[in-house]
């Protein structure tokens, strides 16, 4: 019997720009593995019989197989395995929370050194982008089956559903409200975390499958869902995304200099305000910036503010470090770059400068009480703890509420009490026949990959339904 190989628990670190440098530029923070580093990391995989990693992946990538291909030096095969289950590997390799998915269920995680699956995924995707001839060779001939599906929104869910259906032979048209495809990947996630050329090249891949993307089309305005169904579409998949920003609802919130995180990130990422005046859209940051909330979006906003030239950037959060919803990695990145965390602190009002601009915020300290309905300890205001903090810019990053445009223009679409579209989790079906839904509009704000997982399930069900193998109800 062969000797049992010794476990290597040392993850190969990914090279990054140093914090001092990167906090002032919009270039990508993580630089990606070199060939040697990728091979070394891939060699740590023990190719378990019962691969836990696969169960942790919302889109069921055959993880051990693509890692085996890297190890064997067969990059075209690694790329093929990835692409067969995930149309957006360059994006997922960068923004998936692997630590709670594949890397959590990796059998080596129990010993403390899971395989860096996300980094390897990114490595393969980047390799493939540098070798377009391979993708061309691997392109499967698609036979159209004569059925037509409309996809609303070109974010992660829309792109995934469209790609899956196109591969199955459907004619797919995506309707995108903005002037570029990609949804949150373009307007929300910053360049330094997800370069826009990566998004565009994965959008191009989806287009290469025959998917048409109609930009500047707001469904509910230029055409309703019912009109799509009446005018030749056999099915509609709704993935319109996050919607309306939530504000703090405190006095002074409409002063200039107070941006919703959506607006701040849209100006920065989509409209490229960091290149003003070369690009026409301006943004005002000033010296001191306060970001309210502690999710991934708050981390993105605070790190953008630094890169736009702010001297001091604060994350203001009413609970403590343990309850922060952001990924650990993002939190660490923000901390390294110099974002200051002011925990157990909550704002009560904004103060203006008399000319309509925000000048300061009144904050008070909080303490944690009994758990509330979310299971997290309820923050309680400490009496008499108010203090004033001078700021130039405030960014509430408190999440979003569903955008009402589609629900209010579509007949027979049932909503949940949160205003999201009532959707069956397993199939993606809504209460309206021939209409499916996925992504934030179905679940409330969540991750890129969970939206993609939902889109994949919906695509499977749309295919089943349109082939006549299941009834609607």
């Amino acid at each position: 019997m062969a000797e049992k190989p010794k476990l290597n628990l040392n993850r190969v670190p990914i090279p990054k720009q140093t914090p001092e440098v990167r906090r002032r530029n919009f270039n990508e923070v993580a630089l990606g593995y070199t060939d040697e580093q990728a091979l070394e990391e891939a060699s740590r995989c023990i190719d378990c019989k019962k691969a836990g990693c696969k169960d942790g992946c919302p889109v069921n990538i055959d993880i051990p197989e693509f890692i085996k291909a890297i190890r064997a030096g067969d990059m075209p095969e690694a790329a093929r395995i990835l692409k067969s289950k995930n149309s957006l590997p360059g994006i997922c390799g960068r923004v998936c929370p692997q630590e709670t998915q594949c890397e959590m269920t990796c059998n080596l995680a129990k010993k403390g050194g899971p395989i860096a699956i996300g980094r390897l995924e990114r490595y393969v995707a980047d390799w493939e982008r540098d070798h377009p001839e391979i993708a061309e060779q691997q392109k499967e001939r698609i036979r159209f089956n004569g059925k037509k599906v409309a996809v609303v929104g070109s974010g992660p869910a829309g792109l995934t559903c469209a790609a899956d259906l196109a591969k199955l032979g459907y004619e797919v048209i995506i309707f995108e409200a903005l002037h570029v495809a990609g949804g949150v990947l373009m307007y929300g996630i910053p360049e330094f975390r997800l370069p826009k050329v990566i998004v565009q090249s994965e959008v191009d891949y989806v287009k290469s499958l025959g998917v048409e993307i109609k930009l500047n089309h707001v469904i509910g305005k230029i055409a309703t869902v019912d009109e799509l169904l009446e005018n030749g579409f056999d099915a509609v998949f709704l993935s319109p995304g996050a919607g309306a920003p939530v504000f703090l609802n405190i006095p002074g919130e409409n002063l200039s200099g107070i941006y919703s995180a959506n607006e701040f990130l849209t100006r920065t990422n989509l409209m490229k305000a960091y290149l003003f005046p070369e690009y026409d859209t301006p943004i005002q940051v000033g010296k001191r910036v306060a970001v309210f909330g502690a999710g991934n979006v708050a981390m993105d906003a605070s790190r953008c503010a630094l890169r736009l030239g702010a001297e001091e950037v604060y994350i203001i959060y009413r609970r403590s470090k343990v309850e922060m919803p952001a990924r650990l990695e993002e939190r660490e990145n923000a901390e390294e770059e110099g974002v200051i965390f002011k925990l157990l602190t909550n704002p009560s009002r904004f103060l203006g400068d008399g000319r309509g601009r925000v000048r300061a915020v009144e904050l008070h300290e909080m303490e944690l009480g009994e758990p509330d309905e979310s299971g997290r300890p309820r923050p309680i205001r400490k009496p008499g703890s108010e203090f004033i903090m001078e700021i130039d810019t405030a960014i509430p990053a408190l999440g979003t509420r569903p955008n009402p445009i589609i629900p209010s223009t579509t007949k027979g679409l049932e909503l949940t009490k949160w205003g999201t579209i009532l959707t069956d989790e397993a199939s993606g079906r809504t209460s309206k026949e021939r209409v499916w839904c996925g992504g934030d509009m179905a679940t409330g704000a969540a991750t890129v990959i969970s939206a993609m997982g939902a889109a994949r399930r919906a695509a499977t069900d749309i295919d089943k339904y349109l082939r006549g193998s299941t009834e609607w109800s």
Binding site: L178, I222, Y259, R357
Partner: protein, 292 residues
């Protein structure tokens, strides 16, 4: 890409464009707007629809040259294309049978007023229109408004036409002399609309105003266009653009609209020499014009 099929310089700083956008033309309703991006580096900004032709698949817009974006748009010619147009956005005007309507408009507000008056007339309303312009040279579309309204009054800011210099004075006199008005619609410059609301308030006549704050996405996603109406925060792009003018917080609106004055001036001033250089290159002048 939307092709410009007709361009007219109405008065020196106000441009009229007719553009190809068949899908939007099919759906447009009075009171709605589009968001445009002139070119690849352009910002997104809203313009009200001044008309549409479903059969020909065209939209009409008219705008005042205010800064870089509108200047760039005004520099396009017939046959040129606008990079992006998205719409129709916003809620359409609530067109009901109100009775006697007073419609008040100035500059870029004259555009959206025309289709709105038409729609109001179709519902059997009597529409009296009061338009305001700075002077005779800034007056346009008087004939169009006359052709759709029952009566039309012109108020010129230099006082060269009649005794009124401001439309507010006209409204007050019109209402004081006992004319019955059931609803007022006002489109145009913020100060004009605010003034108009001040004039109608003592008579307690509901006054609908079309607001034009700064916008980015125009679909309710960013909250840049938030205004305060009756103490409540509203998004102009999805809750408006029309609101009850007596409930609008005008001071807030004006301050938010002026938030980027410095950046706007900066962008505009940088664009001008740059553009001059490009013109010089295009016309292949023997020597480059020194513009710096």
């Amino acid at each position: 890409m939307c092709k410009i099929v007709k361009k007219e310089i109405l008065v020196p700083n106000t441009i009229y464009l007719k553009v190809e956008a068949a899908e939007i033309a099919r759906k447009a309703k009075p009171g709605q707007f589009v968001i445009l991006r002139v070119d690849e580096v352009g910002e997104r900004f809203p313009l009200s629809l001044a008309g549409w032709d479903e059969d020909r698949g065209t939209l009409e817009i008219l705008f005042l040259i205010m800064g870089k974006s509108t200047m760039k748009l005004s520099a396009l010619d017939e046959g040129d294309c606008i990079r992006d147009i998205v719409g129709p956005l916003g809620r359409p005007t609530e067109i009901e049978s109100y009775g006697n309507i007073l419609s008040v408009c100035s500059t870029f507000g004259i555009g959206p007023m025309v289709p709105m008056i038409k729609a109001l007339k179709e519902k059997g309303n009597k529409v009296v229109t009061a338009m305001e312009a700075r002077d005779k040279a800034s007056l346009f579309w008087e004939d169009r408004l006359k052709s759709v309204s029952d009566e039309t009054y012109v108020v010129l800011g230099d006082g060269s036409l009649g005794k009124h210099r401001r439309v507010r004075e006209f409204i007050t006199e019109y209402l004081e002399s006992g004319n019955k008005v059931d609803r007022v619609f006002a489109f145009g410059r913020i100060f004009m609309m605010m003034d108009c609301c001040r004039a109608t308030k003592p008579f307690d006549i509901k006054t609908i105003v079309g607001l034009t704050p700064i916008m980015v996405d125009g679909t309710g996603m960013c909250g840049c266009c938030r205004v305060s109406v009756g103490g409540e925060t509203k998004f102009t792009c999805v809750d408006g653009p029309e609101f009850d003018g007596h409930l609008v917080d005008w001071e807030l609106l004006i301050k938010r609209k002026r938030a980027y004055l410095r950046e706007e001036a900066q962008a505009f001033n940088l664009w001008q020499p740059d553009n001059l250089r490009r013109i010089a290159e295009l016309s292949e002048l023997p020597e480059r014009i020194s513009v710096m």
